[in-house]
């Protein structure tokens, strides 16, 4: 709905009033190591704006009950509030129908759901599932396990030295036995934005369904699952300024309808007898048990919040911040930015000569700067890059130029302490 009406050349997004937005995030006024906190770990999890915190608080105080079962007004209202968020998610990702939105615990569960249903149903001995080198462990291990169970083969589309999955190599990796493609929209370790729409087209030409791991894309890019034409799209609430414990699996209705249940129990059944149980229609078939009701309410508030700002504006701000940071960091002697993809979002990985990312993290921590140092749950990618780990700064809508400058000063301090490496 949103995307379809936009012209292909989008007007320049108005700049964000970051100072004002920062005041929406209570934690950002706190201090770390005696200095104002510089939070540069949004790829791990974003901080929460007051409207999200307050919506959850208010719901507990005024609107809470279990859903889908009460005969009383409070339960009906809670059910309505919960289902309203399904509609908000539908609009957020531009899904055709709200029943294509399944609430899960997060990206990890969304992927496990598809692995445990569609993949388990379709995979036969010798069949293949295709991922890429830059996947997060949660988009590797569930497929690996189902391959082990079914005698399938996990294939890997390679990346080049810039950290991009080349379309030609990707297409070559699609074979007659490929039954599913699972690919990240945005890499959590390098920030690479994959050409997912083209990948989906290539896979669909061979009749292969595609799951997109959107954990790192949802906070940064305007999403449109219909334009991407992907079959599944997974993301986590806690990375889009919402609470932990809730996430989304989008699936095309025709595929969801053909899939067996995932977990089983209450809420997902139509009728139960000891001889036979029949299951509810989608999406409820995949939502067994009492869900994270208040988490869903919080997610709705987060999407409303993002809606008032606009993903285009957020994307423009973050992309500008990212290029500024990349340029400024690369100007520090001995610092190398890891991942030179043509299109990146939200994430800047780097290494400092002579200093392990862990030490970089400790020194920056003492400057009040929160970054991540490690393998970022992407060990095969680190192996391919020949690095044990990287330092990673990742950005959210609330990060400012001044914070990037403090990061750069902090990295200079790392160089001061570690000096230049004699070897």
């Amino acid at each position: 709905m949103r995307r379809a009406t936009l012209p292909s050349v989008q007007p320049a997004a108005p700049p964000l009033d970051v100072d004002r937005l920062r005041r929406d995030f209570p934690i950002l006024s706190s201090r770390a190591a005696g200095k104002p906190l510089v939070y540069l770990d949004s790829a791990a999890s974003t901080q929460k704006p007051a409207p999200v915190i307050e919506a959850m608080n208010a719901f507990y105080r005024e609107g809470y009950s279990n859903i889908h079962r009460g005969l009383y007004a409070l339960s009906l209202e809670a059910t309505e509030a919960y289902e309203e968020v399904r509609g908000k998610v539908q609009r957020f990702i531009n899904a055709r129908e709200s029943r294509e939105v399944v609430f899960v615990r997060g990206t990890t569960e969304a992927i496990n759901l598809v692995a445990g249903t569609l993949a388990r149903q379709r995979l036969e001995s010798g069949d293949e599932i295709l991922v890429s080198t830059l996947e997060h462990h949660s988009n590797i291990v569930p497929w690996q396990r189902i391959c082990e169970e079914k005698g399938g083969v996990l294939r890997v589309a390679p990346i080049d030295d810039k950290g991009e999955v080349r379309l030609e190599a990707f297409e070559q990796a699609l074979g007659p036995r490929t039954r599913l493609v699972a690919i990240a929209h945005v890499s959590n370790a390098l920030g690479t934005v994959n050409p997912v729409a083209e990948m989906v087209r290539m896979a669909h030409r061979r009749g292969i369904p595609v799951l997109v791991d959107g954990a790192q894309a949802a906070p940064h890019l305007q999403l449109d699952v219909q334009a991407l034409d992907c079959d599944f799209y997974a993301f986590s609430g806690h990375k889009v300024y919402g609470p932990t414990g809730v996430g989304v699996l989008y699936g095309k209705a025709s595929l969801l309808e053909a899939m067996p249940p995932y977990q089983s129990g209450g809420e997902m059944i139509r009728s139960v007898s000891f001889e036979r149980t029949s299951y509810k229609e989608i999406p409820y078939r995949f939502e067994a048990g009492t869900p994270d009701i208040v988490g869903v309410i919080g997610l709705g508030a987060a999407l409303d919040y993002l809606g008032t700002i606009g993903l285009e504006c957020i994307a423009a701000h973050e992309s500008e911040l990212l290029s500024h940071a990349a340029e400024a960091l690369a100007s520090v002697p001995g610092v190398r930015v890891v991942g030179q993809a043509g299109r990146k979002a939200g994430v800047l990985s780097f290494v400092v000569e002579g200093a392990h990312p862990h030490d970089v993290g400790t020194i920056l921590d003492r400057e009040g700067i929160a970054i991540r140092g490690g393998h970022h749950c992407a060990q095969p990618l680190m192996e391919r890059l020949g690095l044990p780990a990287t330092a990673r700064a990742s950005f959210g809508l609330y990060n400012s130029h001044a914070e990037v400058d403090r990061l750069v000063d902090g990295v200079r301090k790392v160089r001061e302490i570690f000096g230049s490496c004699p070897s």
Binding site: G354, P357, H358, T362, G373, G374, I417, F418, P422
Partner: protein
């Protein structure tokens, strides 16, 4: 800054840049591997015992400044000494880096430089990784050692 200076003392940085006893040891009688899954640090320790004396000891691996320097200085401490020194020195070292020294660190020598780790609880695992691994090697543990 001063806590950082205490952590990254010159002797520690020196061992990070030029680790001693680094490499493989073909004559090893005991060896073990360890890793810290949190940060991907990996270390392997190999010892050659002659009776109860550590005739040679080497380590290999990739890690942060703290884990590399700790491994390097530990090998210097143990080389040529009775193997039993590992247990007493490890106990003292653990107390030192967790800031709860009960015994005086009499057996640690230069390793007292690691006292600064106590101000950085998340780095204790880095500092002790090689020690856990050496201990496992002496105990002939077949299981890879992990700090988790």
């Amino acid at each position: 800054m001063s806590e950082l200076m205490d952590l990254y003392q010159e002797v520690i940085l020196d061992h990070t840049r030029r680790p001693r006893n680094f490499g493989s040891l073909d004559s090893a009688t005991h060896r073990a591997e360890g890793d810290n899954p949190l940060c991907g640090d990996k270390v392997s320790v190999a010892l050659e015992l002659d009776g109860d004396v550590v005739r040679d000891i080497r380590f290999q691996g990739k890690g942060c400044a703290i884990s590399t320097a700790s491994a390097s200085m530990m090998t210097e401490l143990l080389k040529g000494q009775k193997a039993a020194l590992l247990a007493t020195a490890f106990r003292q070292f653990q107390d030192l880096v967790t800031g709860q020294a009960i015994e005086p660190p009499d057996d640690l020598g230069k390793l007292v430089a690691f006292a600064g780790v106590a101000a950085f609880p998340v780095r204790v695992k880095c500092a002790t990784l090689a020690w856990h691994t050496a201990k496992a090697a002496l105990e002939n543990s077949q299981q890879p050692i992990t700090t988790e």
